[in-house]
């Protein structure tokens, strides 16, 4: 919940609601990007950006190399697997 997980924005899915598809270690998940959109960064310009995702919200931009290092660490800590599992099994029905 507190560590978050890095992912790359691959597609904007809803411009008004500021929703985007993020690829987290091969798993795709829709996230809200309201917190990383500002005057310098329009919604559309976010595609390709690496972000730190917390509970379905992109909270911070990170550089690609940093993202990889962080992901490796989270895998080592066992956190990444738990986070990705939670993303995949989240109750949506």
């Amino acid at each position: 919940m507190c560590l978050g997980i890095p992912g790359q924005i691959v597609e904007i899915t809803d411009v008004t609601k500021k929703l985007a598809m993020v690829d987290v270690s091969g798993v795709k998940r829709q996230v809200n990007i309201a917190c990383i959109v500002n005057k310098e960064h329009s919604v559309a310009s976010c595609v390709g950006d690496w972000v730190l995702v917390h509970v379905g919200f992109a909270m911070s931009r990170i550089d690609a190399e940093e993202a990889k290092k962080t992901l490796d660490l989270l895998i080592e800590l066992g956190e990444a697997q738990a986070e990705i599992m939670a993303m995949q099994t989240s109750a949506m029905q």
Binding site: N32, L52, S90, A91
Partner: protein
């Protein structure tokens, strides 16, 4: 130094440890009156144990594992409130997985689910909102917990619900705040913390400035810290450096993620939806002024506490639990009478044994359990 080879940059880790040793000696700190540094955040506690950072440090430095694990500090009465809400007819109660096993006075959410309540684990509050969209005949309640790191996510979800006119969605708000809690720790007469590692992802939201009072009013050094083992070693070194130069400043070791002024859209959303409570009850620490938030009146329609009746009873922790003393650093986890015996990760009695971020679970999982149990017997003999 058995774990140092696992570090991303072992050479840098060794250098930092050597520097930390040198400064500790220069400062004349001894094991009799150790230097007590607190890592506030449960994420830091987890990294510290996973990488055996305590064992690398001089014995004269003691790390005090703070109350920054939201699941751990949730009072039993609030868990009971969750169970009551979840057992209402026509309710789908949604929660992060971490909260499922926290013991209430009668049962945990996991037991309530086994007894037939419709409780679902979600990854994000957005998933709870989607459930509300799909099940308009049901009331969907999301158990909102966590510090400022997760507050923007629940606030933005409520704003989305409002925009989409979704009226069967509400939050059971149990968010807690960092700054008033650090202040309470500093004001506590039985605590003598010499410096703080400030939580990295809380700071990502609120920025580094809210911690100014620690340096200015309380004259203690504080360093905003990342979650890699090297981040933690570097921050401990930065704290020692401040102490040796007789400084007390707010420094930002985690600048790659933490902007000085925080995240503006996130702060806007959370201040729009939430306001400070007069006080909030913590497991182990008791009541702390302004340490929680509630939903503003404008969002009462999305507030489960106003929409439904919750018992809101104050339930005392089991007498044998010493979570409070552990949280304040008055005793070490293994000194608690029930540590590792009646209280263990399978059947936790105290909250600190529930989450992997809790100090007791960390000692249990990563410490040398037999050695700790022997030490515990010696202390309690």
């Amino acid at each position: 130094m058995k774990y140092v080879d696992e570090f991303r940059d072992p050479e840098k880790a060794r250098m930092l440890v050597a520097e930390i040793n040198t400064i500790t000696e220069q400062l004349g700190i001894t094991q009799q009156r150790p230097l007590q540094l607190m890592e506030f955040c449960g994420g830091h506690t987890h990294t510290i144990f996973r990488y055996g950072i305590e064992q690398m440090l001089p014995k004269a430095i003691e790390l005090i594992h703070g109350p920054g694990c939201p699941v751990c500090v949730l009072p039993m009465g609030r868990v009971d409130d969750c169970v009551t809400l979840a057992e209402r007819p026509n309710v789908i109660f949604t929660t992060f997985g971490d909260a499922m096993r926290v013991p209430g006075s009668k049962k945990s959410l996991l037991q309530a689910k086994a007894d037939g309540a419709d409780i679902r684990m979600v990854y994000s509050p957005l998933d709870a909102l989607n459930l509300a969209r799909k099940h308009q005949e049901k009331e969907v309640i999301f158990f909102a917990l966590g510090f400022e790191t997760t507050m923007p996510s629940t606030a933005l979800t409520v704003l989305q619900a409002e925009q989409d006119n979704i009226n069967n969605f509400s939050l059971f708000c149990n968010h807690i705040t960092t700054v008033p809690t650090i202040k309470a720790i500093l004001d506590s007469p039985d605590m003598k913390i010499d410096g703080f590692l400030a939580p990295g992802h809380v700071s990502m939201v609120v920025g580094a400035r809210p911690f100014d009072f620690v340096a200015e009013t309380y004259e203690k050094p504080i360093v905003v810290t990342g979650f890699e083992p090297l981040d933690i070693l570097q921050s401990i070194w930065m704290l020692l450096k401040q102490l040796s130069e007789k400084r007390h400043d707010v420094e930002n070791q985690y600048a790659r993620i933490v902007p000085e002024n925080g995240n503006e859209p996130a702060m806007d959303a959370l201040t729009k939806v939430f306001e400070l409570r007069e006080f909030f009850e913590w497991r182990g620490l008791g009541s702390i002024d302004h340490s929680g938030v509630k939903m503003r009146d404008a969002y009462a329609a999305y507030d489960a506490e106003q929409k439904f009746t919750v018992p809101n009873l104050k339930i005392a922790d089991p007498k044998s639990c010493q979570c409070g003393e552990v949280l304040k650093g008055v005793i070490r986890p293994w000194e608690c009478k029930v540590f590792g015996t009646q209280c263990n990760p399978e059947t936790p009695m105290g909250a600190l044994m529930v989450s992997t971020e809790g100090a007791c679970a960390a000692y249990y999982n990563f410490g040398n359990l037999n050695e700790l149990l022997q030490k515990k017997e010696a202390v309690n003999a």
